[in-house]
């Protein structure tokens, strides 16, 4: 039974393949045939008229071709264009464009369909209304259909029938169409003059209402986008601060070179990209980014291990000195990167992270930002699992709570320190890996975020990851929230003031460790 079921499935699969192939061959044959078919007489006449020097004739021919011709005539047009003078080329261009857009309305790619629809709406050819409406009726992709309907309505705004116009204006308002605002404003202006007819005035009223609707939606959509940008910045800060906070909580060490560990992660990504360019087949290129994740983690973790073994282990219990020494290390790393890599470090994001998803009218969420947000959520989950669900995590927590007692119970605290530091550094590497998606890879990369992530650690309090998470959400969110009204610089200043005021109420951060051992 099972056997025959499988065989059946395979047969069907093969059948489908054959059908596809057949369709493909047939399609190309038909396409071939179509190009050779000669057009109807009036179109033939129009094609001939195009070459006429008389202006009126040419315009008429152009109009006729746009309305009745289709993409099957494109080869003829191209031929015409190849040996045309400048004025003829200018005259033909709209014809070719319109045909292309019209053909693109049936393209298999939703994004192509959508841009074609938008362009048709902008070009203002009334004949396109019916094409757009037919295409919209069969459209399955939501935003392509939206663009088609929007364009059809936009074209209707220019129609002669006042009832159609009014309806279109109202409908555009309902759709919160961004593209319609200039046209609607023109209508309002036309209806505002002294000599405006009653008809125009009524239309202006409709248009005003529509604009109001669109604008009130704009407030919402920009709020959502700001919120999104805030969350995206927060998640970058979060990935960075998590490593910093774990190390600080465990060892009381503030690692000023954390930003440079992040830079190492970013450069590891860059190196991986270059390796793929040189040694891997071109079709593999996009997977360099995934290959770079372990590379970035390991490079930064290894560096952290070295840093711990050569500098930090000698400075336990002297946090201020550790800060200075690690800052020295960061200076050396920055200059080293500058001298070795120079400025020629461009990262090409993998193609599957280009573009974005439209969720609402005017709200567009880029994939790379979504990816970073997802990554930070994964990181948090991973860290929680590691700290609270594994034996290593148990040891780390034990050493964090009481170092000498843990040592007495047989935990090798030195080893735990080294591994934790390496892990925290590796997290910085992951942050650097993610950052290559949204910024340049440059030696000063870490410096841009380091002060902010210190603030996150301070605000969040020591030893509690929840504090770090909430603080990074708060600081990242506030940063983006205040940027539009105060500007980036004053927004940052305001955040510093807020953090200081916040520390007035809660001197040891959001989630302070309660108890008497908190004071050193």
């Amino acid at each position: 039974m099972d056997e025959s079921h499988h065989r059946m499935k395979r047969l069907i699969g093969i059948g489908v393949c054959v059908a596809y192939l057949g369709w493909f061959v047939l399609g190309s044959v038909v396409a071939e045939a179509q190009t050779n078919v000669s057009p109807s007489p009036p179109l033939e006449q129009a094609l001939a008229d195009l070459s006429s020097e008389v202006d009126g004739t040419r315009e008429q021919a152009v109009r006729l071709l746009i309305e009745q011709g289709d993409a099957s005539l494109l080869p003829r047009m191209e031929e015409l264009r190849a040996n045309a003078d400048r004025s003829l080329r200018m005259a033909i261009k709209p014809v070719i464009d319109t045909w292309r857009h019209r053909a693109n309305l049936a393209s298999p790619d939703a994004e192509t369909r959508r841009t074609a629809a938008t362009d048709l709406g902008m070009n203002g050819r009334v004949s396109a209304i019916s094409w757009l409406e037919t295409a919209a009726a069969n459209e399955s992709h939501r935003w392509a259909r939206y663009a088609m309907e929007e364009s059809a309505l936009l074209l209707k705004l220019a129609s002669d029938d006042p009832a159609v116009k009014q309806q279109a204006a109202a409908k555009l308002g309902e759709m919160r169409s961004q593209n319609a605002v200039p046209a609607l404003q023109a209508l309002v202006q036309a209806g505002g003059g002294e000599s405006a007819t009653a008809e125009q005035k009524a239309l202006a009223q409709r248009a005003t209402a529509a604009i109001e609707r669109i604008e009130s939606w704009n407030v919402w959509s920009s709020t959502i986008e700001t919120l999104f940008r805030g969350i995206s910045l927060s998640s970058i800060l979060l990935i960075m601060s998590l490593g910093l906070a774990i190390v600080f909580g465990l060892m009381g060490v503030i690692n000023m070179a954390h930003g440079e560990l992040m830079m190492i992660g970013a450069y590891a990504t860059f190196v991986m990209q270059e390796c793929f360019k040189l040694y891997a087949p071109e079709s593999w290129f996009d997977s360099y980014y995934l290959a770079a994740l372990p590379a970035a983690f390991l490079a930064s973790a290894l560096f952290g291990l070295i840093l711990e073994a050569t500098v930090i282990r000698f400075l336990y219990g002297r946090p201020l000195e550790t800060m200075l020494a690690t800052w020295g290390v960061s200076l050396i790393l920055i200059q080293g990167a500058r001298m070795y890599f120079g400025d020629l470090t461009a990262i090409t994001a993998p193609s599957w992270l280009n573009g974005g998803a439209q969720v609402l009218v005017g709200v567009f969420l880029p994939f790379n930002r979504l990816f970073i947000i997802g990554l930070s959520i994964l990181s948090v989950m991973g860290i929680y699992a590691l700290l609270f669900r594994s034996r290593i995590g148990l040891r780390v927590r034990a050493v964090t709570q009481n170092r000498s007692m843990s040592a007495c119970l047989g935990i090798l605290t030195r080893k735990v320190d080294a591994y934790t530091f390496a892990f925290g550094s590796g997290l910085a590497g992951i942050a650097g890996w993610a950052l290559t998606l949204v910024g340049n890879v440059e030696p000063g990369l870490g410096q841009n975020y380091i002060v902010d992530s210190f603030m996150v650690v301070v605000t969040g309090g020591v030893g509690k990851l929840a504090g770090t998470i909430i603080a990074s959400l708060g600081i990242g969110g506030l940063n983006k929230l205040m940027e539009p009204s105060f500007g980036a610089v004053y927004g940052k200043v305001l955040i510093l003031v807020l953090v200081i005021l916040f520390l007035q109420r809660r001197p040891s951060g959001l989630f302070a460790v309660k108890g008497r051992h908190a004071e050193g």
Partner: protein
């Protein structure tokens, strides 16, 4: 020792600048003297930093802000004395002409007066430190936390001073000064006088810091550094003492800024950012904390090294500075002064091995 060094700085160097012939090996060039004056201005700032870090255990990574404010106060005065001698012939500073500012902003107006500028250069950093320190110390932000917050402060100040709309010259800062109190700044005589004033200020600052340390308040500060809890439980208010010494150090930084600007001839936000502020800490660390003399030695030494190295190997200076951070912290936590003390201790031990060996050990600890 104090008087000897003071004598050399105040009389010997200027005399060597004025008297010997230009090509004599004893001659100290105008340029060298000017450079040295700049280093001594930095030394004043380092004294203040040593006072808070070495004695009270407060590590401020935002000292460059106070330095910058002092320097900008003086710079604004110098900017206004240029008057219509500027490139555009306007009574307004050049950068305002570029930025299409037509009227002098209100906060520039007091800086027509020299004494007001100097006073502001001391008091504005002091007020700033007072407010910031009050908030920070009251909520017992200390140690690493305080360092981080002050570093953020340095970053913010750098960002704000870089903006054009604050009317402080933006990224280019204030420069192209002409005269101070009617004397041309390009004259060697003016620079010599500025040098002498700097030396005097340094001497005064040193004496004041010594006096503070020797006083009862100084002892409380050292106690706070060693155990703030115990000081608190003994009935003192550590916050007040810390606030006092923080304000003093801010004023010293402001004074350093005031003296720096006319000697160097330019002040930009780049001198007050995160990195310069950290470099100031290195001066003190290199010289040796809690010695005061060490701060001066460190400031002069590191800057001397910097000007030599950046001339010959500009690319290597960050490596050197970074290495200095690491090496000093790891190997010489007591800096140059600590090393000197050790060497002296060894000699004294050898000399006094027979009569008494305990005295030396007592001195060492």
């Amino acid at each position: 020792m104090f008087w000897l060094v003071g004598f050399v700085l105040l009389f010997v160097l200027p005399i060597l600048n004025v008297l010997p012939a230009e090509d004599s090996w004893l001659h100290v060039s105008d340029f060298a003297l000017n450079r040295f004056g700049k280093f001594l201005a930095f030394a004043i700032l380092a004294l203040g930093l040593d006072l808070i870090w070495g004695y009270a255990g407060i590590l401020s990574l935002g000292q460059g802000v106070f330095f910058g404010i002092g320097a900008y106060c003086m710079g604004m005065h110098l900017m206004l004395t240029i008057g219509s001698q500027s490139v555009y012939g306007s009574a307004l500073p050049d950068f305002m002409v570029w930025n299409q500012v037509t009227e002098l902003p209100f906060f520039w107006k007091p800086f027509y007066s020299f004494s007001a500028a100097v006073l502001a250069g001391l008091l504005v950093p002091a007020c700033f430190a007072l407010i910031f320190g009050f908030l920070a110390f009251r909520s017992r932000i200390k140690g690493v936390y305080f360092a981080i917050i002050t570093q953020a402060l340095a970053l913010m100040a750098w960002l704000v001073f870089n903006r054009n709309e604050t009317n402080l010259g933006g990224t280019n800062g204030l420069t192209d000064f002409k005269t101070l109190l009617g004397f041309r700044l390009s004259d060697p005589g003016t620079q010599l006088a500025l040098y002498v004033v700097t030396v005097l200020c340094l001497g005064g600052a040193y004496a004041m810091c010594r006096w503070i340390i020797a006083s009862r308040a100084g002892r409380v500060l050292i106690a706070i550094r060693d155990s703030e809890q115990r000081v608190l439980f003994s009935g003192y208010s550590p916050a007040t003492y810390k606030l006092f010494v923080f304000v003093v150090s801010a004023m010293l930084a402001g004074l350093a800024g005031i003296l720096y600007v006319p000697q160097v001839g330019i002040i930009t936000p780049a001198q007050m950012g995160v990195l310069p502020s950290l470099e100031m800490v290195v001066w003190v660390a290199v010289g040796g904390r809690a010695t005061l003399v060490g701060a001066i030695v460190g400031a002069v030494g590191v800057n001397l090294g910097r000007s030599v190295l950046t001339n010959s190997f500009p690319e290597l200076w960050p490596f050197f500075l970074g290495g200095l951070f690491v090496v000093v912290v790891l190997l010489f936590p007591d800096g140059v002064m600590g090393m000197a003390r050790q060497v002296r201790g060894k000699f004294a031990e050898r000399a006094a091995r027979l009569p008494k060996s305990q005295a030396v050990e007592g001195e060492q600890t």
